[in-house]
């Protein structure tokens, strides 16, 4: 068993005499390398997205029918016409209007839900509401598109509210996308509210504040960066949402500001154009990539902002 050895002495025993022959463990290193490669795949995916989008986008702008200034400022988007126009403004505007409507709905609903769950709901209520919200988040968006087109527009908007909207309209798209992103905002905001230390609440209660005052004046301000993160992430999801707007908002690029009319978002354009068999190399095909590139950049910026805000509240309270 143990090797007899003196404490120090010149030379001393070597590792082999105490522990037996050394092992190489090449397998261990190979496994570590393989796992690293798997994790690095995600970086390759990102590179793939960036390279594929930029490559075709550059050739898109090299097309003589397209100019960068026309793309950024033009008010006409008719890529599949024989005399095409490539002004992205109608698509950006459609995206902004629908995202704006969605946020108008989702911000109060999301924050209200988060505050209710974090500050008021009994454990039993939480146990029913939270999985239901997860269920809502798990319903495929094509289903929401169907709902917006066949029920929400004709029954709710036209019959009940009498808004006289078109069959395809930005309002239904925006409202339903708003409901769709409620779970996103609610869950991030609730995490942030739950992370507010109990001592802060107790401090306010100790001064005679009511539960409402504690929620509104203490918890919400303390959780503000987390709530902001949720809203930004929700906005990013609304910008990237495809199926609801493709089905319910129409495929008419327009500069009209009236949400009762059909409008086309960036995502809906990509979906509608990609659906038809666009020939590779046509300007229409390349336009998919140019719009996709703009979409990717917008959502990337929004995600980065959201991650920043989340990190900020984590630093403060965790």
């Amino acid at each position: 068993m143990a090797t007899d050895a003196t404490t120090s002495g010149a030379g001393g025993p070597n590792a082999e005499s105490v522990f037996g022959p050394p092992r190489r463990r090449i397998g261990e290193k190979l496994i570590a390398a393989a796992l690293f490669c798997a994790a690095a795949t995600s970086v390759i995916i990102t590179i793939g997205i960036v390279v594929s989008l930029t490559g075709e986008t550059l050739t898109f702008f090299a097309d003589k029918a397209v100019s960068v200034s026309g793309f950024l400022t033009g008010g006409q988007w008719t890529p599949l016409f024989s005399d095409p126009e490539f002004g992205i403004r109608p698509l950006v505007q459609g995206t902004l209007i629908i995202t704006g409507i969605a946020l108008l709905v989702a911000i109060p609903l999301g924050i209200g839900t988060a505050a209710f769950l974090s500050e008021y709901a009994s454990p039993r209520v939480r146990k029913t509401v939270k999985p239901t919200l997860e269920l809502l988040a798990g319903v495929p968006t094509v289903v929401f598109g169907y709902f917006a087109l066949t029920f929400f527009t004709p029954t709710v908007l036209n019959s009940i509210l009498g808004l006289d909207v078109s069959v395809f309209n930005g309002l239904a798209g925006g409202l339903i996308v708003g409901v769709l992103i409620v779970p996103t905002i609610a869950s991030v905001a609730e995490d942030a509210m739950s992370a507010v230390p109990q001592s802060l609440r107790e401090g306010a209660y100790g001064l005679g504040a009511s539960r409402r005052q504690v929620s509104v004046r203490v918890v919400v301000p303390a959780a503000l960066s987390g709530i902001t993160a949720g809203i930004v992430l929700g906005a990013s999801r609304a910008v990237g949402e495809t199926m609801v707007v493709l089905i319910a908002a129409g495929q008419v690029p327009t500069t009209s500001l009236d949400p009762r009319n059909p409008m086309e978002t960036m995502t809906a354009f990509i979906g509608a154009t990609g659906k038809g068999d666009v020939p590779t190399g046509s300007t229409g095909y390349k336009a998919i990539f140019a719009v996709g590139f703009a979409l990717f950049v917008i959502t990337l910026v929004l995600n980065t902002i959201s991650i920043r805000f989340v990190r900020r509240y984590r630093q403060v309270y965790e």
Partner: protein
Amino acid sequence: MSTDKLTTGAIVREVSDQEAADQKHAPVPVVAHHDVIDETVENPVFVTEDLSVSYGSSPAVLDVSLRIAEKEITAFIGPSGCGKSTIIRCFNRMNDLIPAARVEGMVRYHGLDLYGDDIDSVQVRKRIGMVFQKPNPFPKSIYDNIAFGPKVLGMSGSMDEIVEQALRRASLWDDVKDRLKDNAFGMSGGQQQRLCIARALATNPDVLLMDEPCSALDPISTGRIEDLMHELKETVSIVIVTHNMQQAARVSDRTAFFIVDMDSSEEARIGRLVEYGPTDRIFTNPHDRRTEEYVSGKFG
């Protein structure tokens, strides 16, 4: 270092303000060297020389020099934060798992530099077993818990026999022989901890490191583990970290006493070894005033 008068063995030092200022950046242990090393240990299993561990830039424990005897029970005592667990984790290189931890100085195991370039920490751990503060059985059957070590080490022989022998050595066999296939999480805390000891014994280690093994247990379970330690020291060397002085007095042959110091800027807590020697002497005739205060319950 404070400017208190420190009594260390036979040496009494008056620490002047000037000296304290001088020590600001180079704190010097004010204990006599022979008290710490314990030269009476003739056949040491571990020898440390100026062993220091730091996490990131802040030192956790500084300049520990001691010799740990073979086939004895050595206890590390001291208030929490004194670095006793950090030191014991150098003996099987568990500190390797903490990326920020840096170990300086020397640890010799049977004369061999444990932190030498040619040392494989995995092979170190198969000779030097460890039992942790909280019982940590694997979420598997009792049998599989014991068999894991021998399997990963590729030990030959009948696994059933290895398992039975390990459980017998941990005085657990009679309790569990009829339910070897049951999940270990169904056992009581004390049984779980003895299972963890049995698990460590199954690989036939030379040394057993025990990091506060009874802190999560009731007094009866604690007593059984202490009895077990007495039996085990026939075959293995044991180093036990404990915050319980009575336990150290009951089970150990030698005791090392650690303290927590504030560093000169009063910001970081640094552990130091104060006194080391036969347990009887440490408890009846401590040389250092701080040891005396601790063992007599004045602080800690």
